[in-house]
Symmetry: C4
Subunit: 243 residues, 4 copies
């Protein structure tokens, strides 16, 4: 590669990726060293991600690993998360994605293991994710035995393309028999907050199924209303500058 990254920007990104990884740990979205968060530079040429297999207690901001979008490690001592090729592919798939988080939170993983989308059963879901949170098809034997983590990214993208999903509106996916990837159009902390939201709606959905195995998706109009009152052009949730 010819041009290098902005050192100041990279240091700030390392810090925010580190902070987001620690928040993932604080939220208990994964035990042990599981889970990882990444962020991307403004020019979308470099990604910063958690190192592989390091304990959250021992990790420092300076341990975050820089890679380019072809998964080459740049100026870093440690190995990046083994999920790195899935992250980089998602950043290439949508220019809107600014940060990605992968967790093993138990309720979201359960839907991935069950091979089922998380249905939009109500407004808690609709406020945050537009439509069902999709579960991918399973990888073929060839995809597993080939560039596995890269192919994981490909099946996510295939699911979004085939179903005309918008990466911004539906900012999460369940990789079948694996677990959730969640992304933010803002920053790494926001991505982790969305991963917590995903876990909460997955938990609510499981309880809903226990009470009523035939529960229906919320009406499309209710889904539209809630998603748009928070995220649409005329959003009226939260605080905004008054004219």
């Amino acid at each position: 590669m010819n041009k290098k990254y902005d050192l100041d920007e990279i240091e700030k990104l390392k810090q925010s990726v580190y902070d987001a990884n620690m928040l993932l740990h604080k939220y208990k979205l994964a035990i042990h060293t599981w889970g990882n968060v990444s962020g991307i530079t403004k020019d979308r040429r470099f990604m910063v991600i958690k190192p592989s297999g390091l304990s959250y207690e021992a990790m420092k901001a300076s341990d975050m690993v820089i890679v380019d979008l072809d998964n080459n490690v740049i100026d870093s001592e440690l190995n990046p998360s083994s999920d790195t090729p899935t992250h980089t592919l998602l950043y290439k798939a949508s220019y809107q994605i600014q940060a990605i988080v992968h967790t093993h939170s138990p309720n979201a993983v359960a839907f991935a293991q069950a091979g089922k989308d998380i249905p939009c059963y109500g407004t808690t879901h609709a406020d945050n994710f537009y439509g069902s949170v999709p579960c991918t098809r399973d990888l073929s034997v060839e995809e597993i035995n080939g560039e596995y983590e890269h192919n994981t990214g490909l099946v996510i993208i295939e699911n979004f393309k085939n179903n005309n999903r918008d990466f911004k509106a539906t900012s999460a996916v369940l990789v079948k028999e694996h677990g959730p990837f969640v992304w933010s159009t803002k920053n790494p902390i926001d991505a982790v907050n969305l991963a917590l939201t995903l876990e909460e709606i997955a938990k609510m959905a499981i309880k809903t199924i226990i009470i009523n195995p035939n529960a229906l998706h919320a009406k499309q109009e209710l889904q539209d209303k809630h998603y748009l009152r928070k995220h649409g052009k005329n959003a009226y949730y939260g605080q905004r500058p008054k004219k």
Copy 2:
């Protein structure tokens, strides 16, 4: 409006509404900025409610928003909770309601998403809520696309009217595909305590359904006994002045 509120009363109400919102957060009845608590002045002309979308960590008592019962913001910088029109309508529906809380606690939300009342399966429920905690019908497309939060209040009131429910005895409701609203005839802290109680009985009810999907409602006489020993004229639970 011509006459203003009592400044001293409003300051105290802001503090108690703030304290109740922080208790909701401490009890983990909602993650993130979700959930809100309101209280009403003695003359029932002004409501104080949590601002929209502010984090519990950043919030101060002085941030609580004053609105009149027509949902006009009074002397406040911040936007009130987007659920404000539901709150004001409930205060108008029953002069007994002194405080209202809305949460996204997962077990209560699950019943709302399943579209089912919480049956009174036992004395834990009967001690606190008289009869089933009802789930409303879902809103029509017109109601969703119209004054949505106002219409949410209307379906609650419709449910109570059609079923001859007493707002004092049954101090909670599940809005279908949304979540619980709980109210108190005393004060905001009491409303939050009732919201925790509701979450606990919803949790117990889900576990009851797992063990015995055909579990029956507690006998009407048992429901009467328990509700009345705590809340009736001849209540003998707790401490009372001795003659």
Copy 3:
């Protein structure tokens, strides 16, 4: 009554009943002011029990209430727990019972609301309770409308008598549509520890039912083995003086 209690013994009993109530609270076996623990004097003439409806935070050892076994309050300012007549009746039913605890722990309550015994599915149960933890029949309308708390005690005793249960070996019961009562042949702290055990095995049993709705009771011989290796004449669990 003619003869009074031993003041020193009563003070110690108040302290141990208080400590046990605080442990119940620490273990989260009940929210709010729910739950209560009692203990009995050596001559079995006086019981000390938690006052009714006081918050755990505000409660002091000196607030514990003394009653005789006919439920008369003795030298105490506060009202005793409304469950007092159930406690006193159990102490009369078995001279082995030294302390009693009543909780609203959600998994045990769920079995009570489902109207089902907790089956002995494995050694965690068998180590601590001999056989199923029984659920009583429901009270008749007459029993509910009569001396309710006293009649609650009667249906417990009826269940133990009709099924030849031993109060020492099966030291817990579920009152149908209500919740668990647990007792100890040792002291109040031990009773609360057993109540925590009961909640844990109820939790395990619910999960067992989810995995395998047709799960069988553990073999009688396994139940005997585990109960007796901890509680039998030739017990070899724990530390004992060596000869």
Copy 4:
């Protein structure tokens, strides 16, 4: 016995077995005094294990009990865990086992009580345990009434032999109607970390069953991929010395 242990090694082993027992307690893998961890000396002649029935709060490293592999207590005041004969038999069954932990964690116990293997539903499982985590057959009446804890070890070994399981790859088992035993080829702390992992995948599996009672095992190739990327010759997970 003629030759004694290395005092320095035994002291270190006592400390690490103590630390691991305290971690089990911190992780809440068992309540009360339940659960136990052991480790073995390099020459595989002596095992160090938690004493029976002591509270985690009161326990010290010096309380850990030394036994030889014939279950004789060596130079120790306290009784070893009643599960000692199960531990020693496992150490004899596989020279790779360096530490063993037994817990009563509720989700793993639920599978044991349900008499079912934990299916490998996804990569969280596959990363850590190769294939299903097996549940043993139940013990016969003769086995229960005979050398019970020894026979418990025998049914574990029988299950591994009959199914050609590898103690290193599948480092956990569920004893039917009892609970999990987990072991490590490294050290006691690692064994406890695996016991936490087992509890987490059991929790995920139960939730998976709720969502989809017909959920399938993950493809064999996916199981191979995940287990081998962490544990195989060409493992690329975590940090390794760079050439």
